[in-house]
């Protein structure tokens, strides 16, 4: 037996959550299928005019990504809360923020990253140009971690509450609006020939801010919810 460092703990939590996700593949797949379905429903709802679809594509993809990440956030802490693992995590001699960061990273890899990978294929359905697709992917890569991190605060606050899922969306969606604006704005910018970098750098700035503050805030929220 040897003592482990803070970084070991982070790796441990990420690995554990990934293993668990691999053994419960259905959960991961449902989120992904939901994303694909929501995006595919839009053309059916608004009609197949390619011009309009091309214009709508970034917004539709981003909103769908937002909704499907809400869907998976409900489970972020609840399974650990129910079986008592969360109690043990809070008693960990390392900082709880680090553990929370680990869970955020794992959540993103399980529910955010697949969306990023599927998004270009869905973008083709909307006849998006190649450079627009590129910007969309970069935007999603920068933005979906923010959704996981901000969402984690909501997941921690609504831990164990009745109607937790709907409540979670109600709390978190307004907070995610800037991500949506900059993310889809970047794609709009590239299609209209404007500079993309301001949007993306703002998204990056939000990501840094979220990285700096959300783990700590989520840890506090967990402490409040465990009382």
């Amino acid at each position: 037996m040897k003592k482990s460092s803070m970084f070991d703990l982070l790796v441990l939590v990420v690995r554990r959550d990934l293993i668990l996700a691999m053994r419960r593949r259905a959960d991961v797949l449902t989120t992904l299928i939901f994303f694909v379905m929501v995006v595919s429903l839009f053309p059916l709802g608004v009609g197949p005019e390619m011009d309009m679809l091309r214009k709508m594509a970034p917004g539709v993809l981003w909103v769908a990504a937002l909704l499907s990440s809400m869907l998976s956030l409900v489970r972020l802490f609840s399974a650990d809360y129910i079986d008592g693992t969360l109690e043990q995590m809070m008693l960990s001699p390392q900082s709880l923020s680090m553990l929370v960061l680990g869970k955020m990273v794992a959540h993103w890899m399980v529910s955010g990253l697949p969306l990023v990978l599927v998004a270009p294929v869905l973008g083709l359905q909307f006849d998006m140009a190649v450079e627009a697709l590129g910007v969309l992917i970069i935007g999603l890569l920068l933005g979906t971690p923010i959704l996981s991190m901000v969402g984690a605060i909501g997941a921690a606050l609504t831990l164990g509450l009745r109607g937790g899922g709907v409540l979670l969306s109600l709390l978190v969606l307004p907070l995610c609006i800037p991500v949506l604006i900059f993310g889809s704005g970047a794609v709009d910018a590239v299609t209209t020939g404007l500079a993309v970098s301001p949007h993306l750098s703002l998204l990056g700035a939000l990501l840094v801010l979220a990285l700096a503050f959300t783990p700590w805030v989520t840890a506090q929220a967990l402490r409040i919810s465990m009382e």
């Binding site: 037996m1 040897k2 003592k3 482990s4 070991d8 703990l9 441990l12 939590v13 554990r16 293993i19 668990l20 053994r23 419960r24 129910i82 079986d83 008592g84 693992t85 109690e87 043990q88 995590m89 809070m90 008693l91 960990s92 001699p93 390392q94 900082s95 553990l99 465990m226 009382e227």
Partner: protein
Amino acid sequence: MLEVSNLACSRGDHRLFSGLSFTLSPGQIMQVQGANGSGKTSLLRTLCGFLMPDEGDIAWRGENIRSLDEDYCAEMMYLGHLNAIKDELSAVENLRISAGLSGLDLSDREAIAALRRMGLKGKERLPTKVLSQGQRRRVALSRMLVNDAKLWILDEPLAALDVVAVALIQELIAEHLAQQGLVMFTTHQPLEVAGMDICNLTLS
């Protein structure tokens, strides 16, 4: 070592207990007694730092546990009602992860040795969802073998265990006390530790 003074706790509007004071020194064991709903679990959870007491102070080595925070967590092990094990993971994985969460890097071999001692030989690699209730509890309790915590806080450690396992747990507690450890526990089954007086704390 663990000093509790004038502690008061409530759940919602209901005052569970107040003015509770006691001291636990190395090598001592204390049983918390009381009827259902008298606040046994709340007291243990307060000692873990999950619940904030309404009044009073909990000190470890003379310092408040809130200010010690992570240093206190490093010296304390809590086993609650909930097993904190994942159905999808095997017994070894569960044990290694829970040891990892408490800051210990456990090798496969050490984990298997601990599980064997808990009487889970041959079941180390099975996913815990195929194990019985008592066997899962054993997986959870095998953490008692692989930690270096000074203070053990055990909430109903004997629930769902058979006679053999109860004897083993008593043996482990005796070993821990012999190494100048501290134990606080609740139980509804009789628990005897050879050659030790158990202090009683009764909540009404």
